[in-house]
């Protein structure tokens, strides 16, 4: 099986690069985008299996990006990260088609579990 292609979208560089490294250690193909625009560019040029998307970002917000991704390719699964502990954003995201949401700081094992579940749901 091909390694899973994951796109990480978050404006916090330290967070996103470290998380990417950890996922790569687990044999995933990880790309990074620092804002919404960049994320959409990645999705267009090299569509990933799953997008891990921060809700709170400057510029294009996480939920808007989610909508646009879903519009571009509804098969791409999105897992939202809410920094707020605001389940409300998570629930709204799920209504917009997000696969699930996680609250920051995240537990890596939980994220991995959700990523595989998301990929599995695509099949």
């Amino acid at each position: 099986m091909d390694p899973m292609k994951v796109l990480l979208v978050d404006d916090e560089r330290e967070f996103v690069t470290t998380l990417a490294e950890r996922l790569e250690l687990r044999n995933m193909n990880v790309s990074i985008a620092m804002d919404g625009e960049a994320a959409l560019g990645f999705v267009e040029s090299d569509p990933p299996h799953v997008v891990v998307l921060d809700v709170m970002m400057p510029g294009l917000g996480g939920l808007e990006v989610l909508e646009k991704i879903k519009a571009m390719d509804s098969k791409i699964q999105v897992i939202l990260l809410t920094g707020h502990g605001a389940t409300k954003d998570g629930i709204r995201g799920m209504k917009l088609g997000a696969f699930d949401y996680l609250i920051k700081p995240i537990d890596i094992d939980e994220l991995i579990k959700k990523l595989y579940a998301a990929v599995k749901s695509m099949a």
């Binding site: 916090e12 920094g83 502990g85 605001a86 700081p105």
Partner: protein, 573 residues
């Protein structure tokens, strides 16, 4: 003592105290006392004044009413006496004019006149003619042998010669009956003068007194100027004895007097002086008989005053008690409302602060989490090296601490987030069972007895599921923390009334001190030291209040704690 009293009755100070705000219990006692004193003074003083004024007015007007008949009686009787004496005097005077000196010198004629007088008027004892020049008895008709007796040295002779008439005081005369003598002088133009003198027994006096119709308690008598009885007194002595009462002589009015007689009896005296001779008519009545109506009125007045005062005091005491209680309750309610408001303010400002702090901390926390996570990954993916175990445990500790921080920030955020509510129709029993699902494992592990007494027909309510879950999770978590292993937690639901359902969670754990109980719903108050944020119950309280419910807690140290949550059936959020 005096200054104390002064302080007590210092009106200004007392009034000041009425309005002073001071929440101590003492204040209500003071307030109650002051209102009572003030009200009693304000009511009893005018009542007493009214009673006093009435007393005096009634006394003066009633006195008039009581005295008038007494003086009338005295005057009437005096007139009778005067009339009686005048009549007798006039009679003698007429005789002295109708009959000449010569006729009166004739014993036969004199006897005849005496006979006629006795027959027509009664009471006449004798009749005599006395020479005006030398005072010798010239002729005499009567039981004594007085012919030739000389009266020139006697005072009555001088008086009759001077004034023309004379009426004597009473003396014991013929057959030991009291008598008076009446003498009249006749002066002829020739210069010859003579005196007609008669003696009358005073049985008529007794008749006149009897005519007054006095009761057995009362008495009436005549005194002469020296205070000697001229008639028999029922109470104070026989005729010609000295009267024990001191009656002031002289004056022409009718007088009344209240005093004690020598026997110690309270008497009401009425006395009046006859115009002529110098007699005084005295009427003695027992004071209580005369003033009977006054005494009755006085006791009525006193009774009314007493009943009035008692009623006033009773009403004032009851009313003040009720009033002060109401004030106290109102104060307490106000204070409670104020505290609740304060609490709310505290909560919401802390909520905002907490949200800010949590949000700011969350991002670096996420970075620490990932960095430490990566280190852990790297250690795990690297083959054995020196001190691998040590590094692994160090990173594990960092991650654990991050986890703890996360719990705290999540709670803080949850605390801030309580402002939003999503209402749905839900079954509280079901919700409780869901929540208990989280705790069953721990309960099983610690062998804690979870007793459920859920009402079968508990009505569904409109409320926020998530928030209620948090409420019961918090309360149950506290209960679990409070009980020892093998402890007991009892959860019950019931319908409290038409609008409310109730949930109680009772444990037999360590309980709380009163001090703890007082602060239990305050944010950041905790007894768990390192393990708690001190937000759990404050959040719980906030949620329940926001959902329109109420929460109460009872606790006793070493016995256990009971939380009761009351929730409205219909949400008005």
């Amino acid at each position: 003592m005096a200054t104390n009293l002064k302080k007590w009755f210092n009106l200004r100070e007392n009034l000041q105290m009425l309005t002073d705000v001071n929440s101590s219990e003492n204040r209500y006692r003071l307030l109650q006392r002051n209102i009572r004193i003030l009200m009693i003074v304000l009511t009893i003083v005018p009542l007493s004044m009214m009673a006093l004024i009435n007393y005096h007015q009634y006394q003066s007007s009633l006195r008039e009413e009581i005295i008038t008949p007494e003086t009338l009686l005295a005057n009437k009787t005096r007139h009778s006496f005067e009339f009686f004496l005048n009549e007798r005097q006039s009679l003698i005077k007429s005789i002295s004019y109708f009959y000449s000196y010569e006729q009166l010198s004739d014993e036969k004629t004199l006897n005849h006149i005496l006979f006629t007088l006795k027959k027509e008027f009664g009471g006449f004892v004798d009749l005599g003619l006395i020479n005006g020049a030398d005072g010798t008895q010239l002729c005499y008709a009567g039981p004594y042998n007085l012919l030739g007796k000389n009266y020139a040295e006697q005072s009555w002779f001088h008086e009759v010669m001077l004034k023309g008439t004379y009426i004597s005081d009473v003396f014991m005369g013929y057959r030991k009956f009291p008598h008076i003598a009446i003498a009249v002088q006749r002066l002829e133009q020739s210069g010859r003068s003579w005196i007609v003198r008669t003696t009358i027994d005073t049985a008529m006096f007794d008749n006149l007194i009897a005519a007054m119709g006095l009761d057995s308690e009362s008495d009436a008598f005549i005194l002469n100027q020296e205070g000697i009885f001229q008639t028999n007194s029922r109470l104070y002595g026989k005729v010609l004895e000295r009267c024990p009462l001191k009656i002031p002589m002289g004056g022409h009015a009718t007088y009344v007097d209240e005093r004690k007689d020598p026997g110690g009896r309270d008497i009401f005296l009425t006395y009046t002086n006859l115009t002529y001779p110098d007699y005084t008519l005295v009427i003695v009545k027992s004071r209580s008989t005369v003033l009977k109506t006054w005494y009755a009125l006085k006791s009525d007045l006193f009774l009314v005053f007493l009943i009035g005062s008692t009623v006033i005091v009773f009403v004032v005491f009851r009313l003040t008690g009720i009033m002060v209680n109401r004030i106290r309750e109102a104060d307490q309610n106000r204070e409670l409302a104020f505290r609740e408001l304060e609490h709310h303010h505290k909560l919401s400002s802390i909520g905002r602060l907490a949200a800010g702090v949590a949000h700011e901390i969350n991002n670096p926390l996420a970075i620490i989490n990932e960095k430490a996570g990566l280190i852990k990954d790297l250690i795990e993916y690297t083959p054995d090296f020196k001190q691998k175990e040590k590094f692994s445990s160090l990173v594990g500790a960092i991650l654990q601490s991050v986890n703890r921080c996360r719990t705290i920030t999540h709670r803080l955020l949850g605390f801030a987030k309580r402002m939003e509510v999503e209402i749905e129709n839900l079954d509280v029993n079901e919700l409780l069972e869901e929540v208990l699902g989280f705790l069953e494992k721990e309960a099983l592990y610690r062998n804690i007895n979870l007793g459920l007494e859920l009402a079968k027909d508990l009505p569904r309510i409109d409320s926020d599921r998530g928030q209620l879950q948090q409420v019961f999770l918090n309360i149950l978590n506290n209960a679990m923390a409070a009980v020892e292993d093998e402890g007991k937690i009892r959860i019950a639901t019931w319908e409290k009334d038409a609008d409310t359902i109730a949930v109680s969670v009772q444990d037999n754990g360590c309980g709380m001190s009163e001090e703890t109980l007082r602060h239990i719903f305050e944010p950041f108050f905790t007894t768990k030291r390192e393990h708690g944020t001190g937000l759990g119950l404050s959040i719980t309280y906030g949620i329940v209040k926001k959902l329109g419910g109420d929460i109460e807690v009872k606790s006793k140290e070493h016995e256990g704690t009971t939380f009761k949550v009351f929730l409205p059936k219909k949400s008005n959020v």
